[in-house]
C-alpha cells in the first residue's frame, strides 16, 4: 500500500510539474522576437561591449520572466563585431538575411555604428544604437536609426556650461587621445567655450597607442589652467591623470567627460575630488526604485556597481519592449514608426526618452564628483550638476564631419 501511495504521489508531483511548466510556457507562445545585437566582444572596444551585454542580458531575463513581449520571448542574437567596421557590417547583413531580425542594435563604438548605420538606412531596418555618441548617426535625413546615448559634441557643450557655472572666465586645458569620440567632445567644447567666456590655454592631441605624457603634462602645468579636461584612450587616461596630479594639478581641477566604473577604479583614491560626466551613476540623485534594484542586482552579479554603459544597454531592451508593444507586431516598418513616436523614460532614472525626427534624443548629462574609492570593489560619488539641452543648440553636423 505504501509503495502504491508513493508511486501515486510521485506521479502527481510529475504531473504538477508538467502543468506548472506548461502554464509558464503559455505566457510566451510562438517564436521569439529576434533583435540582432552586434557589439564589441573582442578588439580594443571589448571592455565596453562586454559591459553592455551584461546590462542587456539582465533586462532580457527580466522581460522574459515577466512574460516576454506580445506573448513571445524577446531574443537578442548577439554577434561579435571585433571592433571592426567591416565585421560589424558583415554581422548585420547575416542577421538581416539569415535570421531576419526585426531590428538591429548593439554597437558601442562610433566606427562600427557608422558602418551599420549605412546598412540599416539602406535596408530599412530599425537600428537602435545603445552606446555610440558620434553625431552623424542621427544626421538630418536619418529615418531608421535611433540613438540612446547623447551625442558627444553635446558632452563638450555640457562641460563648458559646467565650468562656466563653477568658475566664470576659467582657463581650460584639454588633453585627448585621437579617437572619434574625443574629437567630437573637444569640438563641442571648443564651440561653446567662447560663448561661455572660457579660454582654452592648451589643447594637446595624443596619437592612439600613446603611453606617456610627461612632457605634455609639464607644458599644460606651465599654462596654469583652472581646469584640465582629460580624455585618454583606455589605460592611458590613468597615465594622463596621474602625471597631471604628480605635477601639482589638483583633483578638483581635473574633468573627465565620461566615467565608467572601471575608469573610476583606475583613477583611484588620488582622484578623489575629480569630476566626471556620466548618464547614470549609483551616486546620482534621481534613481528610481527600479534603478536602485538594477544597481543592487548588477553589483551582486558582477562584483561592482554598473555605470552608464550597462544602464543604456539595460534600457535598450526595455525600449524595444515598449516599442514592440506599441507597434503590436515585429514588422520592421511598424516597429520603426513606434520607435519614432516613443515617449517614455529610462526605467532606472526617469530621464525622458523621446527621439526627434532624426532619431536623436533630448540631451542630458550628470556631473559627478568622486568622494571615495574602495579598491576595485566600489566607490562613492555625489552629483554636482544635472543639465539638459536641446541638440539643436549646437550646429553638430557642421562642427563634426
Amino acid at each position: 500500500m505504501n509503495n502504491n501511495m508513493k508511486s501515486w504521489a510521485s506521479r502527481m508531483a510529475l504531473m504538477g510539474a508538467f502543468v506548472w511548466c506548461s502554464a509558464t510556457a503559455q505566457a510566451q507562445t510562438g517564436t521569439p522576437i529576434k533583435i540582432g545585437f552586434v557589439t564589441e566582444l573582442s578588439g580594443p572596444w571589448a571592455f565596453i561591449g562586454t559591459n553592455c551585454v551584461a546590462g542587456l542580458n539582465m533586462a532580457t531575463d527580466e522581460i522574459n520572466k515577466a512574460g516576454g513581449v506580445l506573448n513571445r520571448p524577446l531574443q537578442f542574437i548577439i554577434k561579435d563585431n571585433q571592433t571592426n567596421p567591416s565585421s560589424a557590417l558583415a554581422a548585420a547583413r547575416t542577421l538581416d538575411v539569415n535570421d531576419k531580425v526585426a531590428a538591429l542594435s548593439g554597437p558601442t563604438n562610433s566606427d562600427t555604428s557608422l558602418s551599420m548605420y549605412g546598412y540599416a538606412e539602406q535596408q530599412k531596418i530599425p537600428f537602435l544604437v545603445p552606446v555610440a555618441a558620434f553625431p552623424q548617426l542621427t544626421k538630418p535625413g536619418t529615418h531608421y536609426t535611433f540613438r540612446i546615448e547623447p551625442d558627444a559634441a553635446g558632452w563638450g557643450y555640457a562641460i563648458a556650461k559646467f565650468i562656466e557655472q563653477q568658475k566664470p572666465g576659467a582657463k581650460v586645458a584639454v588633453m585627448y587621445s585621437d579617437t572619434a569620440l574625443a574629437h567630437a567632445i573637444v569640438a563641442g567644447f571648443q564651440y561653446q567655450a567662447p560663448k561661455s567666456k572660457l579660454s582654452i590655454v592648451s589643447s594637446i592631441l595624443f596619437p592612439q597607442g600613446s603611453s606617456d605624457a610627461t612632457v605634455q603634462a609639464a607644458q599644460v602645468k606651465a599654462t596654469k589652467p583652472d581646469y584640465v579636461i582629460v580624455i585618454g584612450a583606455g589605460a592611458f587616461d590613468n597615465v594622463l591623470t596621474n602625471q597631471l596630479l604628480d605635477l601639482g594639478i589638483k583633483p578638483p581641477q581635473v574633468i573627465h567627460p565620461f566615467g565608467m566604473t572601471t575608469q573610476v577604479f583606475g583613477w583611484g583614491t588620488r582622484s578623489i575630488g575629480s569630476i566626471y560626466g556620466t548618464f547614470f551613476d549609483h551616486g546620482m540623485d534621481s534613481l528610481t526604485p527600479e534603478g536602485k534594484s538594477f544597481i543592487s542586482r548588477f553589483d551582486s552579479a558582477n562584483g561592482r556597481p554598473p555605470s552608464y554603459i550597462e544602464n543604456f544597454c539595460y534600457n535598450t531592451a526595455y525600449v524595444f519592449k515598449e516599442a514592440l508593444q506599441a507597434a503590436g507586431t515585429d514588422d520592421r516598418e511598424k516597429l520603426r514608426n513606434a520607435l519614432s513616436k516613443l515617449n517614455t523614460k529610462e526605467i532606472t532614472s526617469g530621464v525622458p526618452i523621446k527621439f526627434d525626427k532624426n532619431g536623436a534624443r533630448k540631451e542630458y548629462m550628470y556631473f559627478m564628483e568622486i568622494v571615495s574609492v574602495n579598491g576595485k570593489r566600489t566607490y562613492q560619488s555625489k552629483q554636482r550638476l544635472y543639465i539638459e539641452w536641446n541638440p539643436e543648440v549646437l550646429p553638430v553636423y557642421d562642427i563634426i564631419k
Binding site: 580594443p44 571589448a46 609639464a218
Partner: protein
C-alpha cells in the same frame, strides 16, 4: 630659467632617459638573437606585450606583489623561450635562407598571439596599469618623477651593463661574440655553435620579456604596444648594427631623446614617429649600421 621652463626641460630629460633605456633594452634582446641566429623575430613585440599582460594578471587577478609577479614572469619567460627553441626554432638552424623562414614562422606566431590577446584581454584594455613596485615620487628640483619609473630606468641600464660585462668577460659571452662575428671560425675554435644559438635565443627573449615588465611599470599600455615596440626595436637594431649591444644602447637612447625633444615643439603624433626621421639620417651616414660587426 623659470620654474615652468625648468619643469619642461627636466620632464624631457627624464622621458628621454626612461624611454630610451627601455627601447635600448628591448632592442638589445632583438639584436642578440638576430646577430647570433640570424633570426629576425617578428614576434618580439608580442613577447613584450605577453610579459606586460602576465604581470598585470598576476598582480590584479591573483593579488601578487609586483616584484613577485615580475620574477615569476621572468622564470616563465625563460621556460617559454627554451620550449620555443626546442620545438620550433632549432628546426630551422640548417635551413637554406633561414632568416626568411624564421621571419615567416615568427610572423605566424605573431598572428596567433595577437589573436589570443584580442580574444582574451581586450575586454580589460581600459585597465592595463600595474601597481608600482616602489610607491611615491622623487623630486628633481621642481620636477616629480615616480619612483617606479626611476626603478625601470635603473634596472634597464643595469641589465644593459651586465650584458656588456657578460659579452666582454664571461666565456659564454665571448663565445656569443665569436659566433656573432664568424660562426664557422667559432666552430673551428671549439665553440658549440648550436648551444650558443640556444643561449642567445633564450637570453634575447628573456631580455625582451624584462623590457615588457619594466614598460608596464613605467607606463600604461594597450594591445597596440606590441606592434609599436616591434617596429621600434627592429629600427634600433638595424641602425645600431645587428649583433651590437652598444649600438642598441646608443641608438635606443637617441630615439628616446628624439621623441622627448620633438614633443616640446611638435604634437605628440609627430614626436611618436620622429625616431624614424632620426633613423633615416643615421642610415644616410652609416647604411650598414653604426656598430656593424
Amino acid at each position: 630659467m623659470s620654474d615652468s621652463s625648468l619643469l619642461i626641460v627636466l620632464s624631457t630629460l627624464s622621458t628621454g632617459l626612461i624611454m630610451g633605456a627601455i627601447f635600448s633594452l628591448v632592442a638589445a634582446g632583438v639584436t642578440i638573437v638576430y646577430g647570433c641566429v640570424w633570426l629576425p623575430n617578428a614576434s618580439n613585440g608580442q613577447f613584450f606585450l605577453l610579459a606586460a599582460l602576465v604581470v598585470w594578471t598576476f598582480t590584479l587577478s591573483f593579488g601578487w606583489s609586483s616584484l613577485a609577479a615580475s620574477l615569476a614572469v621572468i622564470v616563465l619567460g625563460v621556460l617559454l623561450a627554451v620550449v620555443l627553441e626546442l620545438v620550433l626554432i632549432r628546426r630551422l638552424y640548417n635551413a637554406p635562407n633561414r632568416n626568411v623562414a624564421y621571419f615567416v614562422v615568427t610572423l605566424g606566431l605573431t598572428q596567433i598571439l595577437s589573436g589570443i590577446f584580442s580574444l582574451t584581454y581586450a575586454k580589460w584594455s581600459d585597465q592595463f596599469s600595474v601597481p608600482p613596485v616602489i610607491e611615491g615620487i622623487t623630486m628633481l628640483g621642481p620636477f616629480p618623477i615616480s619612483n617606479n619609473r626611476l626603478l625601470a630606468m635603473v634596472v634597464s641600464l643595469g641589465v644593459l651593463g651586465l650584458l656588456f660585462a657578460l659579452l666582454r668577460y664571461h666565456p659564454y659571452g665571448r663565445a656569443l661574440r665569436a659566433v656573432f662575428q664568424n660562426r664557422e671560425a667559432a666552430a673551428l675554435r671549439g665553440v658549440n655553435v648550436r648551444a650558443i644559438y640556444r643561449l642567445s635565443f633564450v637570453l634575447g627573449s628573456t631580455i625582451i620579456f624584462l623590457g615588457g615588465i619594466l614598460f608596464a611599470f613605467a607606463y600604461s599600455f594597450d594591445l597596440s604596444v606590441a606592434w609599436t615596440m616591434s617596429i621600434t626595436a627592429f629600427a634600433i637594431m638595424i641602425v645600431g648594427g645587428p649583433g651590437s649591444v652598444l649600438g642598441a644602447l646608443v641608438v635606443g637612447m637617441t630615439f628616446g631623446f628624439t621623441q622627448a625633444i620633438v614633443s616640446i615643439f611638435a604634437s605628440p603624433t609627430v614626436a611618436m614617429f620622429s625616431y624614424l626621421g632620426a633613423m633615416l639620417i643615421m642610415l644616410l651616414f652609416q647604411p650598414n649600421g653604426l656598430f656593424k660587426r
